[in-house]
Symmetry: C2
Subunit: 348 residues, 2 copies
DNA sequence: GGATGTCACGAAAACGTTTTCGTGTTAAAA
DNA sequence: TTTTAACACGAAAACGTTTTCGTGACATCC
């Protein structure tokens, strides 16, 4: 149960000063070869490694980035983390996570905890509650203290910072266009309430695709679901709503859903109503997660390249951290990640 | 772009000493009411928060726990993290993650990075490569430096530390017993190679259940799959192997799979061969993830209570960190999490 | 022999805290 | 008046580094 060895201890053992030890280990020219050898051998023997905390304090740099997300048990978010982690590690950074659980106060508390010196910068996706309240003071305060933020996926125009977003609009548009090209004439959309920016954009993409193909959108084909309800718990409610949509609109032969779960549920309901997929009805989802891949029939979906988002976010943040042009005025960029339509069995 | 304010700055502004400021903020009796008020008001105005790094250095305690897992894009692991995070946050700790990607060297490097002062203790699950190599020096070294480790799920008896494990043996046994009770007479198992401890235990549970019901196990009903292959990529290979099993053993009317994916693939193959689930063949999986829940038919499965595992692991670690009975000799415990059979549509 | 330079090392400050131990001032007790 | 005690505060050390600057011992040069 020996504690980790420190410079001070090495110095005492070898009867030199702390400075000498430090310099010897960093191969300074100031130190004689003899002493260097001696110190380095000793350090190796006792497996000396500099204490990160002390370094952080000294350098005022922790080499750690904080990531705040609404939820981790979620394919998209965990994939983003994976991307962040890969890049961060490669560039010598650690990753510390905070979960907001879609709650405003947890988001604030978590950010405050981390902002007090624990990390150098944030990568985050805004919680639903924060989006509803539209209270963004914590982001601005953090940034005004010189801590950079990179937002991804769920972003808002009100805040001035680097952003990485998915091209939700065009992703949705491409998906719906595909349905049309495949012969669908009555296409429904399963989406979320408008305050979720991504839901809104995907809905717009849907409308645009219809318009470009001279199809008049119908209000009763647009189902805006309340996603503050926990999916997993209110699955029945979801099914009921979708079933009603199908029953009221028997001519529906195409469905575009803004997430995997809505899409899978739609397929389930369709099958229950005796419809065959993709013969009678074709379905496209959003987010390329495990569900899409392993569903039967497997789901055609819009991939957001979550891993790539994480990687780019990490690069963006670290670049900013390491440029440190305190003088040069801040210039923020918004990177758009293109989506990709992955065709599987749920479309013709 | 004002930096975070420090004690020193407050002291200078108010023309008192740093000690006075520190004491005033902590409401020390040494300081007069007047001064306290003044200092506290000023601190509040400038939103003073003590610097975590400085505190960590001073207290030799970071209030951060490190978690090393093989993969994060995985329902089980992300659920465990979620559990850890919940408890950690509640008890005033942060969580920092490291991914080993099932690689020995990444596991070692990640642990070394974190062990140098960044965290107070580890929660981890061993990577497959480490299990194969059976090289556990990094765990022992870390512990010998006084940094506690709590292992979960993938553990080895060779290492002396706190452990949280799933009752894989009994979970599997219960599942297979259920199949037998439901009338299955020829039950196949889809499992992994034996070096994965959990795969081995589940296989043993399967055998035990058969034995207790006087069924003689047959070697060709036991399919040990190579899980070093990436599931997602080698899906075809998986299907082929399972298909062969079914074809060679047409009497199979029950399948126990040691994970979700094997189970789903089995269902897919069965359907392809014209078998109805659960009428002709019943299937039970392991791990209660999204796939089981949303598959059609939904999958009966053995739930491991991943969230609970994370929570218990966090409690165990933090308890140890906060007891600090340096003197009292170490006593390690192994907690067993009971499994639960969640019945859905894939069984009668 | 004195000035200068090189070499090898140590002292000390700094990062931002907390805490122990003084210490000067004032009021109360003797 | 002198002693004592309470009060309110400051100095300094400590956590473990890195780095700047200073310095003593020698060797070199004119």
């Amino acid at each position: 149960m020996k504690r980790k060895i420190t410079l001070k201890q090495i110095a005492r053992e070898l009867d030199v000063s702390i400075s000498t030890v430090s310099k010897a280990l960093r191969n300074s020219a100031e130190i004689s070869e003899d002493t260097k050898q001696k110190v380095q051998a000793f350090a190796k023997l006792y497996n000396y490694k500099p204490n990160n905390i002390a370094l952080s304090l000294k350098n005022r740099k922790t080499n750690t980035i904080g990531i705040i997300i609404p939820e981790i048990v979620h394919h998209f978010f965990s994939k983003v983390i994976s991307g962040v982690e890969t890049v961060a590690n490669k560039r010598g950074y650690n990753v510390i996570i905070g979960l907001s659980n879609e709650s405003f106060s947890k988001e604030v508390i978590n950010m405050e905890m981390l902002a007090n010196g624990s990390i150098d910068g944030f990568i985050l996706s805004i919680s639903k509650e924060t989006l509803q309240l539209q209270d963004y003071h914590h982001f601005n305060e953090t940034m005004s203290q010189g801590m950079p933020i990179v937002m991804f996926d769920r972003v808002v125009p009100d805040i001035n910072c680097d952003k990485i977003i998915v091209d939700d609009f065009n992703g949705a548009k491409k998906a719906v266009a595909k349905l049309i090209k495949n012969g669908c004439e009555t296409i429904a959309i399963l989406t979320t309430k408008d305050y979720v920016s991504v839901g809104k954009l995907r809905t717009q993409g849907y409308l645009e695709a219809l318009q470009e193909n001279d199809i008049t959108p119908e209000a009763n084909l647009i189902l805006k679901l309340d996603d503050t309800l926990d999916y997993e718990v209110h699955l029945d409610a979801l099914e009921t709503e979708i079933e009603q949509l199908f029953k009221l609109n028997p001519s529906v032969d195409g469905v575009f859903a803004v997430n995997e779960l809505y899409a899978l549920t739609a397929m389930k309901v369709a099958r229950k109503l005796g419809l065959e997929i993709p013969k009678d009805i074709q379905v496209i989802g959003f987010t390329d997660g495990v569900l899409s891949k392993h569903a039967t029939p497997s789901l055609t979906t819009v991939s957001q390249h979550a891993q790539q988002m994480g990687e780019k976010a990490a690069h963006l943040l670290i670049d900013k951290l390491e440029s440190e042009n305190e003088d040069e005025e801040e210039v923020y960029q918004t990177l758009v990640i293109e989506t990709e339509l992955i065709e599987r069995e749920s479309t013709k």
